[in-house]
């Protein structure tokens, strides 16, 4: 479609404006991480680097980051396994209730976090507690994995739709067993989708707070929970800004890699 120059300029402006709006709050976060004013007063009363120093020495933030990484990685790993299996079943097989499966998989992410959270909380209490498994990292991982599965499912599904089924057939035809077909043909073809899906799942888990609140045990403090607690602490809010600013800066790398790996697609699907 050939757009007129004006149309292109307008579209460009809307996009630029949109992106600007997306980034203004982030810039503010960055700015506030240097704001001498503890409660983010606007305009800043002065600039200081003490929050950055404080953040870099904050064991709490470091531990929370570690917990979040652990939870995110574990949940992503489970999601990758389960999501891939489900995507395979749905996209490479025909069976009764095929569409219901994708419907059900979407539920955990579509239902409000608070509903999922209290449901999981209630279930863990009635089921896990009696057998001696308390709330902790494990329960957080279970909660996160549940809504991460659909992300992987969607990414792998989209990829499977584009990989000609004849590739796997050609492999079998040439004498490859199922696992060989997976190792030599299917997995390489899906690798970038796995990465993109995994990254998005990880990001989702990394930023989750509601379900986490209801599934975390004592001492299990993920980064968002740490942020939540520290926003309510008298002297900590600026340190939170430092952490957030750092996260944004650091996250560009994996996001960019994911985009590169899956340059043929939109790179990640929700």
């Amino acid at each position: 479609m050939r757009l007129s120059r004006t149309a292109r300029v307008i579209l460009g402006c809307v996009t630029a404006a949109g992106l600007a709006i997306v980034y203004v709050p982030l810039l503010l976060v960055l700015l506030n991480s240097f704001n001498a004013d503890r409660s983010f007063g606007w305009p800043p009363s002065g600039l200081t680097g003490r929050w950055w120093r404080a953040a870099l020495h904050s064991d709490g933030a470091r531990e929370a980051l570690l917990t979040s990484l652990k939870a995110g990685l574990a949940a992503t790993a489970i999601a990758l396994g389960l999501g891939t299996l489900a995507a395979y079943a749905v996209h490479r097989h025909r069976f009764f209730g095929r569409r219901t499966v994708s419907f059900l998989l979407v539920l955990p992410i579509a239902l409000p976090g608070i509903v999922s959270g209290i449901a999981l909380n209630a279930a863990f209490r009635t089921v896990l507690d009696p057998i001696g498994i308390g709330f902790g990292l494990f329960t957080v991982v279970v909660g996160h994995a549940t809504f991460c599965v659909v992300i992987v499912f969607n990414n792998i599904g989209a990829r499977l739709r584009r990989i000609a089924p004849s590739l796997a057939e050609a492999s079998a035809d040439l004498g490859a067993r199922s696992w060989q077909t997976f190792r030599y043909v299917t997995f390489p073809a899906m690798r970038s989708a796995l990465f993109a899906g995994g990254l998005l799942a990880f990001a989702l888990s990394f930023d989750e707070i509601v379900v986490t609140t209801f599934t975390a045990g004592p001492g299990t403090r993920t980064l968002p929970i740490w942020i939540y607690e520290n926003l309510a602490r008298p002297h900590q809010a600026p340190v939170v800004n430092v952490v957030a600013a750092l996260l944004v800066l650091v996250s560009v790398v994996p996001v960019y890699i994911a985009q590169r790996l899956s340059s043929d697609t939109a790179g990640g699907r929700l």
Binding site: M1, G18, L19, L28, G81, L120, A122, A123, V149, A266
Partner: protein, 281 residues
Amino acid sequence: MPAAPTPGSRLRLTALLAPPLLWLTLAYLGSLAILLLSAFWATDSFTSDVVHTWNTDNFHELLTTPVYRTIALRTLSIAVAVTVIDALLALPMAFCMARVAGRRWRRPLLVAVLTPLWAGYLVKAYAWRVMLGEDGVVGAALAPFGLHGPGYGTAAVIIVLAYLWLPYMILPVYAALERLPERMLEASADLGAGAWRTLRSVVLPAVRPAVFAGSVFTFSLSLGDYLTVQIVGGKTQLLGNVIASQVTLDLPMAAALSAVPVVLIVCYLAAVRRAGALDSL
């Protein structure tokens, strides 16, 4: 082309489906069932202990108390508004990214849209709180035009939620636009349609499922949110807040309240599934 069932493939299918479905059922659907079941229990009003006597009082109260209806409607309207705003923003942005910007620009633009997802939901919400405050950036930016910022309240909630969920809308719409064959657009132009016409008759119908897919996120995430409301909502109260405030006091009532978004979202999903949204997620 999905293969038809044969004995061998049925076994494989079972092997493939069993783990995810088992997980889903045990970890999630089971939990949901337990929760919804507990909506039929009562609570000791003083100790907040759940009393296991079967009754429908919670639902009765839910349906007869006007304030719940008001809150449910307000929540629904906010979710709809957020979804509409995001769709209106995402369409031109995704279009520009996928079809107007040069190939070299696509990846950086997409990265730019995705990166904020990592900044932390609470941090962003608090940043907006600062921006929307009386002396905030928004007020300062609007002042020269003689305008006031929206302050804290429903409008602020809509703005911030729309901001938070925007990437979730852009992503599927972008994917759909990128997949749209150039041929379709050429065919339309070839038959005499100008850019606007092509947009309306060819592009929009093609991205509709993707918009619905994105709306699954914007709609349901808005429907259940309660933290953003606490931060910028002023005195606004949404379903999520009511559920959150009841959870610790009266779990059965919270469960009954939870049934409201569950029903809304299941209906919504069923509706958009027909439009092919679930395949475009």
